[in-house]
């Protein structure tokens, strides 16, 4: 595991759309990396916007120190109700936004 929320990073719909574009594997990977980086920004934004200000610092330290640790969920769930659902929903929205970008 490389980051705690990766269980939600399936992005199957986007992958299917990219597959239909007949891009080279390398090109698809490059585009996917941009998407994943964007998602990362959005997830961090979401968490910071929901966390109380006094918890921002410790969250940033936790994710910097142990980004893959599943216990980050426990820490977040104690502070943000429904955080898993919110992150999953956010990822779906962003995925859809990028799917829209694929349309001519």
């Amino acid at each position: 595991m490389t980051i705690f929320y990766e269980q939600f990073l399936t992005l199957q719909n986007l992958e299917n759309q990219l597959d239909s574009k007949d891009l080279a594997d390398q090109g698809k990977d490059q585009l996917m990396q941009i998407v994943i980086s964007s998602l990362h920004h959005e997830v961090i934004t979401l968490i910071l916007s929901e966390l109380p200000l006094h918890s921002h610092q410790i969250f940033l330290l936790l994710i910097k120190t142990e980004p893959q640790n599943p216990k980050l969920w426990e820490w977040l769930e104690e502070r943000i109700k429904g955080i898993k659902e919110k992150i999953a929903e956010k990822i779906t929205i962003i995925e859809q936004e990028f799917i829209e970008e694929l349309k001519d």
Binding site: K28, V35, S37, E42, T45, N69, L72, E74, E101
Partner: protein
């Protein structure tokens, strides 16, 4: 698709990425309190989650007793078997730029020897004169397997979003009833691989014998990109040739190999683990050079 079309998409995606980045920094700067971890945020956002580096304690933690306490009590290291051995001249990274056709018996034997030394096990290309269908190729993400009649994905501990295969694996259920699912069998489903046994040259002639021989055969899979390795068992046949992949990995295997992002596939090495006394545990093993 012509490269100009790729460039068009790349431009669109990059523009969107910039918007997301800007949005975060705007929100962050609007916060009324500036906190000492501003540097930490910057560092986190420049990280690519696809290749996050090994965790390192940031300087802020070294002086923050409260932070240290929270880290110590909140987060625990995942369980990983670590083998620590002497540094070798052989480098797994040499496989990164190799095409499968460039991989010959000599380099495979070197790699097997290297892994054996690294992990204190016996990695080998052949047992009982039976080869693997492939040693270096593409592995793709598989779903969970049904462990017993009536099994569902909600009963699996991890990666439920990966789903469960609609049919049993090539070797059927792991147990006939839930109560007969031992921890050992549970682990076998968690750490399973699918290989193309049907591509073995002797398969059509000896399939009945070979099928029994391959059932839960222990193997080691290594991702040369990040040096992560997993010991697993063969518990399914596949994937189909047309997929362009030559091996499949359970959600747990793919996770431990760091292959759960993007297209959830990657080029890996695979060898048998000769372990007649069943002493090598299934799961992630870690390369740690002295």
């Amino acid at each position: 698709m012509p490269s100009s079309d790729f460039q068009k998409l790349h431009k669109r995606f990059t523009k969107k990425h910039r918007q997301k980045t800007k949005s975060l920094w705007q929100k962050y700067q609007n916060a009324t309190t500036r906190f000492a971890a501003a540097g930490a945020l910057s560092a986190i956002l420049t990280l690519n989650p696809l290749s996050l580096p090994s965790p390192q304690a940031p300087k802020e933690l070294q002086s923050g007793r409260e932070n240290q306490q929270i880290l110590a009590t909140t987060l625990a290291q995942p369980k990983v078997v670590v083998y620590s051995t002497q540094k070798s001249e052989f480098q797994l990274s040499q496989f990164i730029n190799l095409q499968p056709k460039e991989v010959n018996a000599e380099i495979l034997n070197q790699a097997a020897g290297f892994l054996s030394q690294k992990f204190g096990l016996t990695a080998t290309t052949t047992i009982d004169n039976i080869n693997l269908p492939i040693y270096f190729g593409w592995i793709g993400a598989e779903q969970h397997l049904q462990r017993f009649p009536g099994d569902s994905v909600s009963l699996h501990d991890e990666f439920q979003s990966s789903g469960i295969a609609p049919h049993v694996g090539a070797w059927g259920y792991f147990a006939s009833t839930p109560s007969k699912l031992t921890n050992d069998l549970k682990l076998k489903e968690e750490y399973y691989v699918a290989i193309q046994t049907f591509n073995l040259p002797q398969w059509n002639k000896d399939w009945a014998k070979l099928k029994e021989w391959f059932k839960y055969r222990k193997i080691i899979v290594v991702n040369p990109q990040n040096q992560r390795a997993v010991v697993a068992v063969v518990a399914d046949a596949g994937p189909a040739d047309w997929t362009g992949k030559q091996m499949g990995g359970s959600p747990e295997v793919m996770d431990r190999l760091g292959l759960t992002f993007g297209f959830r596939k990657g080029q890996v090495l695979m060898f048998y683990v000769d372990d007649p006394k069943d002493q090598i545990p299934l799961g992630e093993i870690k390369v740690e050079e002295k």
